[in-house]
Amino acid sequence: MDIKIPKLSLVVLIGASSAGKSTLARRLFKDTEIISSDACRAMVSDDENNMDATKDAFELLHFMVETRLRRGLLTVVDATSARIEDRAKLVALAKKYYVMPVAIVLNLPLKICAERNRERADRNIPFEIIANFVTLVKRAGRNLKEEGFKRVFEYRNQEQVDNIQRVFRERMFTDRSDITGPFDIIGDVHGCYDELCLLLEKLDYKIDKANYCLMENNGRTLLFVGDLVDRGPNSAGVLRFVMNAVEAGQALTVVGNHDNKLMRWLNGKKVEVKNGLECTVKEMEAESAEFKHKVEKFIFEMASHYVLDEGRLVIAHAGIRASMIGRASAGIRDYCMYGETNGEVDEFGLPVRLNWATNYKGKAMVVFGHTPIYEPQWFNNTIDIDTGCVFGHKLTALRYPSKEIVQVNALATYAVSKRPIEKPAVSMQHEHDALLDIDTVLGKQLISSRLMDTITIREGNVAAGFETMSLFGIDPKWLIYLPPTMSPAETSSLPGYLEYPTEAFSYYKEHGIEKVICEEKHMGSRAVVIVCKDVAAAEAKFGVGDGKMGVCYTRTGRAFFGDEALEQAFIRNIAGVLTERGFWDEFHTEWVCLDAELMPWSAKAQGLIQHQYAGTGSAAKNALHAVNKVLSNVKDIPGIEQLQATFTARESMANQFVEAYGRYCWEVQSLADYTLAPFHLLATEKQTYFDKDHVWHMETLQKYCGGEGNVMQATAYKIVDFADPASEAIATEWWLALTAAGGEGMVVKPMQFIHRGERGLVQPAIKIRGIEYLRIIYGLGYTEAAQLERLKQRGLNTKRGLALREFSLGVEALERFVAGERLTSVHQCVTAILALESEPVDPRL
């Protein structure tokens, strides 16, 4: 004999002490699923028989039950649960989390219980107490259904108990996560059979319109969000078609409020025949009793909602709360059919429908209908696809997983909407995103990313990141990406060099990479640039309301240009080039996000250069000059030559230092003084380019670089194929030449943007900096042999760990952005990168 219960149940064992509840529970369920009052007593008092601890023990029990139910786990309560008030608390908890309460009653004779109690060595409960429990259990059995238990299993003797073979867990009716798609999700049809057929043909389905049959579905499944009937001309036709398709396993449908009302009418319930039901009723009156019966049964069996594609997709008619997904109750069915209202009536006499999705933070994408809207809009990972076909507007299909929208126009206006269907002024998502949630940017953050699983950001770092973001960050609506920090190569074994290409190549070879790209570094500043086709496109995509058509920001999310007019001139220059050379058409986009280097370095770092570098240089040059002047006059003192040699060398290093930083500085007054060297085409509409290799990025971007008046300039690069040692030598020579001329050096990257080796993610880039450039990082005298020796003892692990986490978070932020996720989830990743930047790391790396 099997016990059949829904996969998500709260199983309440009911039975006197020593009735064998714990033994049975252990036999049928996983240990972790069982919460026993005795165990709770032991946990709070060290003694499972301590009756003084009962109150605390049950508080703990209820807390654990609640936590498990909230998390969607089947839970078994092993307590006597003999009194109605004890059970009521558990039933209420089950109801709160839309979990099915199930009772297993061990209604065993007093004799057996008492006997077992006597045999127990660990405890001995007085006979009267057991007798009392047995009576209570006997009495309980009769009313459990009324108490709210959906299923009750009662056993009156040990033989029956022993006969229970196992517990069979039924899949939840709403759970179709086994179907992974692809799907086409159809909005509210409302009897518009002609339009439905047109739409399906547009979607490449073959249909037999006259026989209401779907002939060919190309391996796709149709999903209907409900409201198949009412108002339109052919509700019966739509029903015939959908019933056939569902029967054939080609379609699924959830129940809509109109469908439900039709069922109640068919069932003979007293319903008001209005709001379009009158049309369907008229049709039904001409139909056979058999058909009507079939329809009634069909609607009765419709699910409140469906969970599909391993939990990634949910459909419901009017919406659903994240806490309801995959669960079942009358309350959920109601919510799914009607959505949320607050009892108010709007100016058109309709109940005010609250936007349930405002607070939706679930992981699953929710597709729904119910409220006719002008155009489907993504909002917090949900989308309403009811575009009011029956009101003369459109019938919409959402293709999944591609998220493509396919529509047909209504052939006629079959009904007049009380609330006009108008284009909204501001998108819901932009409106909503104006106010971000604080809990994703404060407190310890656990961010699941597609590249690294869960990334943990410590609370202290998060606080620092939040502060930096709040003080200096540009508007979060623009801040969709931050580049990762970059590690240098291991220190060189060659004398005189701190960094040299060999170590970068070895790193990638060790990680099994065959080809790398070496890109020249220009000694600019890292910049992220977002450019839109025009101001309208910027507003439509980013919804900032600042009138900009793009932004240029630094590695830490600050505006690059202090002067907004200059920034916009810069952006317009880029947009002009992109327009002229056909970028927008080539990439089917109206915006682009670029990763780049912006020159000159002095544009951003003027303060740093003047106060730090120029100051140090001036002090060193002039002080050392004075020292050498004095020293040169000293003769005949033993040991003075040594001092003279040291300080003469130092003076020439000071001069080299001044030259080194001076090379990267030029005065910037106008746009013409700036140069942008883009090296990653990060994202465009609905698309990132992390799957393209670096040659693709360089070649693609080159098309938009150079030419008269263009701020964008191409970056030189070399490809190294480790199978060909000559290519390695060429790249090394190239680096030597670049740095000998005072260049900053180069960046080596694995050919693939994202490379996963046997030991996990590989560094996305490694920099190798030139001797003279390093002087401004390590101090002007770093090349002195003794200093260099010490400096070579540097550790890179922290830096590299950060680089990988920041890289993963940056990729995650952009992927989330292009997927249309709510801004909060993008902002969380970006703030996390800033948070990681507060980690103390040697800044010279």
């Binding site: 709040s470 730090q612 006059n633 040291t646 101090g779």
Partner: protein, 459 residues
């Protein structure tokens, strides 16, 4: 980096006896973070020059002073090894111990004998320029010469650096000279000392004995010398600090009225009184900074629940110290909470308060982001009473003619009275609030008060 002392009082070589260093030898002593070399570049009857050359190791400089905890690049690339700074002061006491202490074994009579001394210092960072140099040394009788260097000769447009070669001349004893240098070198530099000890005050008193008491710039010298004591304060002064504003206003208007409560205290008292008048018991201080308003609120028992919010944990910790959190009773602690947060984020913790105050906060936000603030305050939190203060741009006319000038470097905008009223009007048409605007501070007949206050009441 280099200190050269020259004596021209015959016999000039007396200097060698006083300094207790042999003219024919190069002597080196270890000092913190490096070595000090002592050698003579002249030693004749007429001229005797003793040089003290510091060879500072930049790497150990960082290692020795990691206490700050900050990992900034400037620790590695900085002027410290090349300048005459507090490191020179410590080197002086280490290299010339006996002279500093007024002892001379071989010729004790020299100690009290003034000599014709010239001191050359290369290079000295002087924050305050030649004027400061003169103010420091001329009252003590020195003749002062200074050569200033450019920041970078290749970039003349960057202007001058604050580095000088300084020459000082005086007829004075060596001990006095060294005491002056010991105290005044770090005063010119005005950078946090590397030799910070609790006994610094004693050192100052000892070295300043006999001259510092009468020095006309005594206050400045003491303040700069003991600069490290205010480090704590400096760190905590965030972008929201109001001191800068007051300094600017005072500087530009040229008036300082010690009897009047300052502008900010006035603002806070007014806001506190306005909050009291609403009969609110649970109040929010959004952007509480170092907690000045919180302190006023704590004093009033009417406020039973006070929440201060600021974006900076650093500033909040400082506020806790100022409010003496560790000395508050449990009951008092139950009334007040400080938490990190921002008016631009949706935050459940801020729900359910009777009144909220934003004192000089909004002007620190980009103007277009005020819509998020409005949505939050008036749409989401819907706090019944909301008080917002912001500077009145009109009033800037009382101290400057420059229309683009703002009162604080971090102000993103400053509103005229008309602009402020327009914004309030816009808020009140979008959200169910009514409002009253009032002056904050003493009003000028044409330009109004320095600040403006609006009281929004939920309808």
């Amino acid at each position: 980096m280099l200190l050269s002392i020259t004596n021209t009082r015959k016999p000039a070589t007396d200097l060698g006896f006083l300094l207790h260093k042999h003219p024919a030898k190069l002597q080196s002593v270890n000092i913190k973070s490096g070595i000090a070399h002592i050698f003579y570049s002249a030693a004749t009857e007429e001229v005797c020059t003793c040089n003290l050359l510091l060879d500072i190791d930049p790497v150990s400089l960082v290692r020795d002073h990691k206490g700050g905890g900050s990992f900034a690049l400037e620790q590695y690339v900085n002027d410290r090894p090349y300048v005459v700074s507090s490191l020179m002061s410590t080197a002086i006491t280490k290299a010339f111990t006996s002279a500093v202490n007024g002892k001379c074994k071989d010729k004790p009579e020299l100690v009290a004998m003034p000599m014709d001394l010239t001191v050359a210092l290369s290079v000295v960072p002087i924050r305050g320029g030649v004027e400061l140099l003169q103010n420091l040394f001329e009252p003590l009788g020195y003749t002062v010469k200074a050569t200033q260097y450019k920041l970078d000769e290749n970039f003349p447009e960057w202007g001058d650096s604050h580095y000088y070669t300084v020459e000082l001349q005086h007829h004075i004893t060596v001990q006095q000279l060294l005491s002056h240098l010991y105290v005044l070198i770090p005063v010119m530099d005005n950078v946090k000392h590397y030799f910070v000890n609790e006994d610094e005050v004693e050192k100052l008193l000892a070295k300043g004995e006999g001259w510092l008491e009468q020095h006309p710039f005594q206050e400045l010298i003491v303040k700069r010398y003991l600069r490290y004591r205010s480090t704590l304060l400096k760190e905590a002064n965030s972008a929201l600090d109001v001191k800068e504003e007051e300094a600017l206003v005072n500087e530009e208007s040229g008036k300082k009225d010690a009897c009047q409560p300052n502008l900010h205290d006035q603002r806070l008292a007014t806001v506190r009184d306005a909050l009291l008048a609403t009969e609110a018991s649970a109040v929010l201080d959004l952007g509480c900074g170092e907690g000045k308003l919180l302190r006023l609120l704590l004093e009033k028992r009417q406020f039973t629940r006070i929440l201060g919010i600021d974006i900076s944990l650093h500033v909040l910790n400082y506020a806790k110290r100022r409010l003496k959190f560790n000395r508050l009773s449990e009951e008092e602690l139950g009334r007040i909470t400080l938490a990190q947060g921002s008016v631009l984020y949706k935050d459940e913790r801020l729900l359910g308060y009777d009144a909220a105050a934003l004192v000089e906060v909004i002007e620190h936000l980009e103007e277009h982001r005020l819509q998020a603030l409005e949505k939050n305050l008036f749409g989401y939190l819907q706090t019944p009473h909301i008080f917002i203060t912001t500077p009145n741009k009109d009033w800037n006319n009382t101290f400057t003619e420059d229309n683009s000038k703002m009162r604080h470097t971090d102000h993103r905008f400053e509103w005229t009275r008309a602009a402020f009223a327009a914004w309030c009007e816009k808020v009140a048409t979008t959200y169910p609030y009514k409002f009253v605007i009032s002056d904050l501070g003493d009003a000028h007949e044409v330009y109004g008060a320095p600040s403006q206050l609006v009281h929004f009441t939920k309808i």
